[in-house]
Chain length 271, copies 2
């Protein structure tokens, strides 16, 4: 099911700035039993990201109406919300009175193999680097060619995710996920001030670590530091948490912190 500005449909205007320039933001999350997972957190992020590029975010109630429509017809699905700056005449200048476009689409919940969550996924270290752009770092905007090119680097179905670095050999995250590493009973996650996307699940993991007195640091993480980690995991709203079992030839066992965090996330999701 697709809703465009609340109306069922399959298409957006050919003059939409989302298409022309990637001038918008998005979120992706599961709906289970008709209920969008961690919705307040998703909305907070959406509103934050809209504000960061000066797009008026629709009120939460408006989106909740859309989500209720979708939840009624597809109680279990993945929902993607896109907010663009709307239509405009040709040219980069934002329109003086923008009318943002609101797109809410649903897809089937993915049926990932159980071992992804149980023993972990194999990953690939992507060759393409994330460019440093402080003005857009952390934001889930529609300029995602780097992620597309990264994901196109491998076709081996045994490899599930790619890890991406910046030009200075700092690891930033997965193509579709945020990354955490465990070392000496502490967690680390990459600083996202220059590039990367700050997801809802990343924030949840940070909060859960604090709530359970697990030391957690947000820092630059070099490739060497990554390879020397005791354990690794990736998170996003759709997958939850997957241990990283391998990065190219380097392998890891599922770690103790990973197992604990995974359980805490499951507990939050089933609240």
């Amino acid at each position: 099911m697709n809703l465009i500005n609340g109306v069922a449909g399959d298409a957006v205007s050919v003059r939409d700035r989302g298409l022309a320039y990637g001038d918008g933001v998005f979120r992706t999350f599961p709906v289970r039993g008709g209920k969008p997972a961690l919705w307040q957190r998703q909305y907070t992020k959406l509103a934050h990201d809209c504000k960061a590029i000066a797009i008026d975010c629709p009120p939460s109630a408006t989106l909740e109406n859309d989500l209720a429509q979708i939840g009624a017809s597809e109680p279990d699905c993945v929902v993607k919300i896109i907010i663009t700056r709307g239509d405009s005449a040709r040219g980069y200048a934002p329109p003086s009175e923008p009318k943002p476009t609101r797109v809410v689409t649903s897809s089937a919940l993915p049926d990932y193999p159980k071992h992804y969550a149980e023993t972990g996924v194999r990953t690939h270290l992507c060759r393409i680097r994330l460019a440093a752009q402080p003005a857009l770092a952390g934001i889930k905007h529609l300029n995602r060619l780097e992620n597309v090119l990264a994901r196109a680097e491998w076709s081996d179905p045994a490899v599930t995710e790619g890890l991406m670095c910046d030009a200075d050999d700092n690891v930033i995250g997965g193509t579709m996920s945020n990354l955490f590493i465990g070392k000496n009973s502490k967690l680390l996650t990459p600083e996202l001030k220059r590039c990367g996307v700050s997801g809802v699940m990343r924030e949840l993991v940070i909060e859960l670590a604090r709530a359970h007195d697990i030391p957690l640091q947000i820092a630059d993480i070099g490739i060497d530091e990554l390879l020397a980690a005791d354990e690794l995991f990736v998170v996003n709203s759709v997958i939850g948490l997957w241990p990283v079992a391998a990065l190219d030839r380097k392998t890891w066992n599922k770690g103790a912190l990973t197992a604990r965090m995974q359980q805490w996330i499951v507990n939050v999701q089933s609240d």
Copy 2:
């Protein structure tokens, strides 16, 4: 008039990867008397850019059919061609059998004040920097949020263009144009190996300089070097050539190289 895959229409699929990820490329150029300006050059660039991100570019004859349709109904207009990787299921992975989307739209030819070309335009030095991404540098792809944010930095109608630098204080070009500077009877234009868009008009200027024995260098140009230039101009396919009369408080007179290049471009355009 809008043609989507050759068919008149106003909309593209809500699942198009151009909207989802900016996963595509584009070109913009004038049509005059039903004839697309410098079409062979535009097509060569389009095909090059498609190849750079592994999208199958439609054959030139297919696009020429679209352009003929538009030229017949609007002999004088600006045409924009967008090629995306087409629809796909959710996720960054390119589809195994992509069907690119071809969008050709027309807009009215802009009616710029005469003094833009005659005496020059006022410009603004943009605060946002262009991120260094060698994998995408030079390509006219759909990830253009940096340009949008740059253009949103000013609303003074007396300012026509913004100049953008990279994070190392090298000037790269205008928000919608390529930049040339004249110094000691030589031309310089920014290196576009890390960021920026390499336009058709930039290539034409480089060729015209060579043809007329004007020394021209492609190089990194620092802000200091920019401000110390004898003359400055910006080019793109729609505007042709505009002298830069001012960058914030710094002003220039229209230079001799600028005037000569402008005339050569007019000659090519009226061929």
